[in-house]
Amino acid sequence: MTVMNENPTSQARFQQSGDTRRSARISAETVSTLAVAILCVALLVGARFISPSLGSWSQVETVLVLGSFLVVLSFGQGLVILTGGLDLSLPAVATLGGILATNWVGASDPGAWYLLPLVLLVCGCVGFLSAAGIVWLKVPPFIMTLAMSIIVSSLLLGYTKGTPRGAAPDAAVALMKGHLLGLPAPVLFLVAFVLLGWLFQSRSIYGRYLYAIGTNVEAARIAGAPVTAMRILPYVISAVSAGFAGLMLVGYSSGATLRMGDSYLLPSIAAVVIGGSSILGGRGTFLGTVGGAILLTTLGTIISAIGLEFGLRTIIEGAIVLTALLLLREELFQKLGSLWR
């Protein structure tokens, strides 16, 4: 697909001005990230015209709180996609995190300080198993994580006998419902998470390794990147962050259900793709993904505030995802970028 997209003008430009690869790449990514951010703000402000209750600061807070689940989930999904894979086990692992937290820890267990990390460790192990199958058994990521997802869901079904019990740990409730410095705790957490995620993906050596591997595994190997470890890492991070999202979901809704992660699989992929990443790997930034996740959540809250029936809301949501995809096409930004230079 990639070779077919090569348009003659970009080749000509490349020959004219020498090596402009670095500047061209960063520019295209920044432009698409900015476009998503502007779209978000425009939507939030524009929503005032639909209903005066929309577009207020409290709505922004709602969007950020609801979007925090998707941001955490799509951070892991984004890393996996960056290395050319795909993680379909996110919903199952998120549910795993939530169910274990309610079953093992409960509301006010004094052992929460070591049990909660243990829950995340179990989730990380699931991610490691997926990665082991992908790296050593050479099972395609799509199939391995799909199989893992089916297996984990089925084990959870057996473990809970179909009806999950237990209450949300206090720590998770405090994270999602608490306030700090006059701001909701999840919003502060979101800011910290985005900052750390950005530092990891764009500013750390590990992040650069992941880009290298996503672009060309063999080249990365020759360049001395620890390829095996760096192919395992995204799946482990993805599973741990999914488990954490499960904790957040439990804290927000005060209980776990067996299907609580299901509705996040496709949005987690959509957020990454709308954020300007290539599904084939090697391109995209976390800030873009965050924009995609917030955009999707904004749309969701606006559409549900309009009060249309559920079916029509779904149609509009799909149409908007499609429009965003069409508007944010990479070729479009390459063309725009070439106009500005």
Binding site: I143, L146, I269, G311, L322
Partner: protein, 336 residues
């Protein structure tokens, strides 16, 4: 054009697998040998547990359960062969199911119109997918994700909660047996497989495998990549339409979410059949057998007294083992 396309498609796998590619093991994994063997083994186990499993009635019931997933997986296979993913499968099946349950048309004539309606719905959604992916060059996962959501929404608008009745003729005849022996649902799947065996020998079929294996090479050899990809999505959509028809015949009622469980299972069936998710290798019959194996596995586990909670555990493990094993066979075959 056909000559060039044929030679390029024939040359590609050969180049990939070394000087002596036509090894027996290698051919086994390309076809459906592995999955067919697994199915026969599983069926033997099933017949051992349940002696009545060989009755015409039991066979028909099994085929009725298999047909929707088999047809859905058949459509998915086409898209996967062209190195794409089609998530709209869930939306199309739900949409067809809902249309059949809300507007039941009685009699054989009504059933024919219903079938054409399903084919039209699937074909139309497939055409949109094809246009987005082939001509506007959107990533197939993303584009079909959007069309899936839209179809799901339309299905919800037509029927916002499970209900309605599928016409009696469809519910009875499509799940029945011809002459008391041949299950109609099995016949429908066999017809699709037969049709595919013809189609894969046409220019289109060769081109499909060629763009899946190596798109630039296929394009350079004169294959019309866009048209091939477009047609693939349209045909896949029509197969989902048929899957929706068979599902409606089986459940006899409407549910706006009826297609959702088939989304991931269709990929599982395709992978179990040994079709490469990176395109260009595999076949439609193997996926049909993959779907049949997944369905049969459920029955075997049920009759072995395993709690239905753990069906997924076994499905997942079988999926991983089958993929690892078929990969191993391919590698052994390529080495010799």
């Amino acid at each position: 054009m056909s000559d060039i396309a044929t030679t390029s498609a024939a040359a590609l796998p050969a180049a990939r697998s070394g000087p002596a590619p036509r090894h027996r093991l290698w051919r086994l994994t390309q076809g459906a040998g592995l999955i067919l063997g697994l199915y026969v083994l599983l069926y033997a186990l099933y017949a051992y547990q349940q002696p009545r499993a060989l009755d015409a009635y039991a066979i028909a019931a099994l085929m009725n359960n298999t047909a929707p997933l088999a047809l859905a997986a058949a459509g998915q296979t086409l898209v996967v062969l062209s190195r794409g993913f089609d998530l709209s499968i869930a939306g199309v099946i739900s949409l067809c199911n809902v249309v059949l349950a809300v507007y039941p048309l009685e009699g054989p004539g009504g059933a024919l119109v219903s079938m054409l309606l399903c084919l039209a719905i699937g074909g139309a959604v497939g055409a949109v997918n094809g246009w987005l992916v082939a001509y506007l060059r959107l990533q197939s996962i993303a584009a079909t994700l959007a069309t899936m959501i839209i179809c799901q929404g339309i299905a919800l608008v037509i029927l916002n909660a499970p209900g309605g009745y599928v016409s009696e003729w469809i519910a009875d005849e499509l799940t029945g047996r011809l002459w008391g022996a041949v299950p109609v649902s099995g016949l429908a799947v066999a017809a699709v497989v037969g049709l595919w065996l013809l189609v894969r020998r046409t220019d289109y079929g060769v081109a499909l495998y060629a763009i899946g294996a190596d798109e630039p090479a296929a394009a350079l050899s004169g294959v019309n990549v866009r048209r091939t990809r477009f047609l693939t999505f349209v045909m896949a959509g029509m197969l989902y339409g048929l899957a929706g028809l068979m599902l409606s015949a089986q459940t006899a009622t409407g549910n706006p979410n009826s297609g959702a469980p088939l989304l991931l299972l269709s990929f599982a069936a395709v992978a179990l059949g040994g079709t490469s998710l990176s395109g260009g290798r595999g076949g439609l019959f193997a996926s049909v057998m993959g779907a049949a194996t997944l369905t049969l596995l459920q029955k075997v586990l049920f009759s072995s007294g395993v709690s239905s909670f753990y069906t997924g555990l076994f499905q997942g493990v079988v999926l991983i083992v089958a993929v690892v094993f078929s990969g191993l066979l391919t590698r052994i075959g390529e080495r010799k």
